[in-house]
């Protein structure tokens, strides 16, 4: 298998990720242990199970070839890039989730992947049937115990999601990979006619992560909102690339990436809006903004619009700036110390992703993860 892999190595290039030096991250040809720890914890509400929702743990079961389950290898094609190719050939675990047509859930489905101290390749495939309505909360994290602190870990995740016609999906993604982990996360979503996606991603990993979010608005009238929040701390290198491809007519996309660079870390936001010929009356807007708290860090917001269809509306905004000194002065004038005032402002930027998210207790995972990263104190300082 390894020799075949090496031959095929020359076929697909590394993923295109502007401003991030993926080659230097050494994510290719990973040594992957087939039995590496890959825990899956899930909360599937009763109403979902009763309605036929199925969740398969890919570490323990072969993928289930349900007829019509379109999300395996059809959204993120293997030849898309080398890392996706390698992931799909050697994944050790992950999950497959099917929400049948017409299923309307009031409570969220929660899937949590907990990795071990080893190189990993994780695969996720989600299929949402026509007319279904669901909230999915997913989280991937590395081990948090302090053993093996020196051992570096490399890995990848490839996730595919198909949303069939008229379905309505809210996807909340929390990435909390730890200080030893270098990873490439590739999530690709396809929307059919009239489908709607509200995607919120919290990028809270602690070392080197390149996170790619791709949405294909294939069906007419499909709409997607992609919101990313990220926090980079000392020495972290985090890159986020959100791309929406407009193919169908009357499609609407909003990309909104907001981040804070607290110390001498690196935070890159790439936004790509691609409107293909024929995607008439497309409406595409993207904005990326980074707040820098330290002069030593590096923050970049790169918007890109590729428009091949004249009958469209498209806009973009990108900004990288300092934390507002007047705001800080105002907060401090009420007795808050500088760090406290900064934390309030940072929390304000990142918690934007929780607006309108509802009250379910599972959603506290999102708030707690964000809070953990804001208040993390590096003991060796």
């Amino acid at each position: 298998m390894r020799d075949e892999m090496k031959e095929q190595k020359s076929r697909a290039p590394l993923p295109r990720f502007d401003k991030v030096n993926l080659k230097a991250w050494q994510l290719e040809d990973l040594d992957l242990n087939k039995t590496a720890q890959h825990f899956l914890k899930a909360v599937v509400p009763d109403e979902a199970t009763k309605a036929g929702v199925t969740l398969i743990d890919l570490a323990n079961q072969e993928k289930n070839t349900v007829p019509g389950f379109k999300a395996f290898g059809q959204v993120a094609k293997a030849n898309q890039d080398r890392l996706t190719e390698e992931n799909q050939a050697s994944y050790q675990g992950g999950y497959q989730l099917l929400v049948p047509a017409g299923v309307q859930l009031t409570k969220p489905i929660f899937v949590q992947q907990i990795l071990g101290h080893e190189n990993f390749a994780s695969r996720a495939a989600i299929h949402i049937g026509a007319g279904a309505k669901v909230t999915i909360l997913e989280k991937i994290e590395g081990p948090t115990d302090e053993t093996n602190l020196q051992k570096k870990v490399w890995g990848s995740l490839v996730e595919e999601l198909v949303i069939e016609r008229e379905a309505d999906v809210r996807l909340i993604t929390i990435d909390e990979l730890n200080k030893q982990t270098t990873a490439y996360l590739n999530r690709q979503i396809l929307l059919e006619e009239g489908a709607n996606l509200d995607w919120r991603l919290a990028g809270l990993s602690a070392h080197q992560v390149a996170s790619s979010q791709g949405v294909l608005l294939k069906g007419h009238g499909s709409q997607a909102k992609v919101q990313v929040v990220a926090l980079a701390r000392e020495k972290e290198q985090l890159g986020f690339q959100s791309q929406v491809n407009h193919v169908g007519r009357h499609t609407v996309a909003r990309i909104d990436q907001r981040g804070v660079n607290m110390e001498a870390g690196q935070l890159i936001f790439n936004g790509i809006g691609r409107i293909n010929l024929g995607a008439k009356e497309a409406d595409a807007d993207q904005k990326s903004s980074i707040m820098m708290l330290s002069e030593k860090g590096r923050g970049e917001a790169n918007p890109l619009l590729l428009i091949d269809e004249p009958d469209v509306t498209a806009g973009h905004a990108a900004s990288v700036g300092q934390i507002d000194q007047e705001q800080l002065a105002y907060l401090m004038s009420r007795g808050l110390r500088k760090e406290q005032a900064e934390q309030l402002v940072i929390r304000g930027v990142l918690n934007h992703i929780q607006t309108g998210i509802g009250q379910d207790e599972l959603l506290a995972f999102l708030e707690n993860s964000i809070e953990r990263k804001i208040t993390y104190y590096e003991p060796t300082r």
């Binding site: 507002d324 007047e326 705001q327 002065a329 105002y330 907060l331 401090m332 004038s333 009420r334 007795g335 808050l336 110390r337 500088k338 406290q340 005032a341 309030l344 402002v345 929390r347 304000g348 930027v349 918690n351 934007h352």
Partner: protein, 261 residues
């Protein structure tokens, strides 16, 4: 905090001297007002007392209970009992009014912070007292607030933080009568032996609702006259020119001696 003493204070901004030797003593329990023509340094005085780093003290001292506070930062001075209701409060998106005020209150009680639940009661009580809308706690700090709402929000903060000395920088500007009455109600409710204020204002009207113990007039960067509340009424009638001439000061005032060429 019992006493704020300002001795011969000279303050410059961008090397331009604005305060030319201010002397002032405010004791606990006293309500002071400062009036004066535009550009005379009233806001500079308030900023210097709070410790705004944009203002340089070139001579003189600011003391709290006999201790020089010039080296203390803004947040340190705030924690020691000072509060300034701003003329132009900042908007801070993403931070709710509730969250912020709770943090401000807890900044003064690091060992025994108040919980959200406990604070909710106090917040609701003061909010209702100032006739502010129920949703004000959830709204982002001053975001979408009119000028009058922002001023009321400053008073709400003051009622929750309970400072010893509140500097009210033109708290009446932009307020209609009803809003002004609510603000005055808030300030008057704080009157006690442990509370003092320094109100900066242009208009006599505020001082009808919050009657001061002393009124000071600033001209040319220093306090040129101090007296009781009647001084404000006199200025209302005569303007500043009369007082300036009486004191024999060599100063030009706004709208005087303009070239109509």
């Amino acid at each position: 905090m019992n006493e704020l003493t300002i001795k011969n204070l000279h303050v410059s901004v961008h090397d331009k001297e604005i305060l030319t030797g201010v002397n002032l003593v405010i004791r606990s329990g006293e309500m002071h007002a400062i009036m004066g023509p535009n550009g005379t340094g009233k806001s500079t005085l308030s900023a210097a007392i709070m410790g705004d780093p944009n203002y340089q003290i070139t001579a003189g001292k600011i003391e709290i209970d006999g201790e020089d506070v010039t080296e203390l930062s803004v947040d340190e001075r705030a924690r020691s009992g000072l509060f300034q209701a701003m003329q132009y409060p900042s908007v801070v998106p993403g931070v709710t009014n509730f969250e912020f005020m709770k943090a401000a209150v807890n900044a003064r009680r690091p060992d025994k912070p108040v919980s959200s639940l406990q604070f909710m009661k106090q917040f609701e009580e003061k909010r209702a007292f100032l006739a502010m809308k129920e949703e004000v706690g959830h709204r982002y700090l001053n975001e979408g607030f009119s000028g009058g709402e922002k001023k009321r929000n400053e008073i709400l903060q003051m009622l929750l933080i309970q400072p010893n000395l509140a500097i009210l920088d033109e708290i009446d500007s932009g307020l209609d009568i009803d809003a002004l009455k609510v603000v005055a109600k808030g300030v008057n409710s704080m009157r006690s032996a442990h509370f003092s204020t320094l109100m900066i204002t242009h208009y006599q009207r505020l001082l009808d609702y919050i009657v001061p113990d002393q009124v000071h007039v600033m001209m040319g960067g220093q306090i040129v006259k101090s007296a009781g509340p009647d001084l404000a009424k006199r200025l209302e009638k005569e303007g500043y020119a009369g007082l300036r001439d009486e004191l024999g000061l060599d100063l030009s005032l706004t709208d005087e001696e303009e070239d109509w060429a």
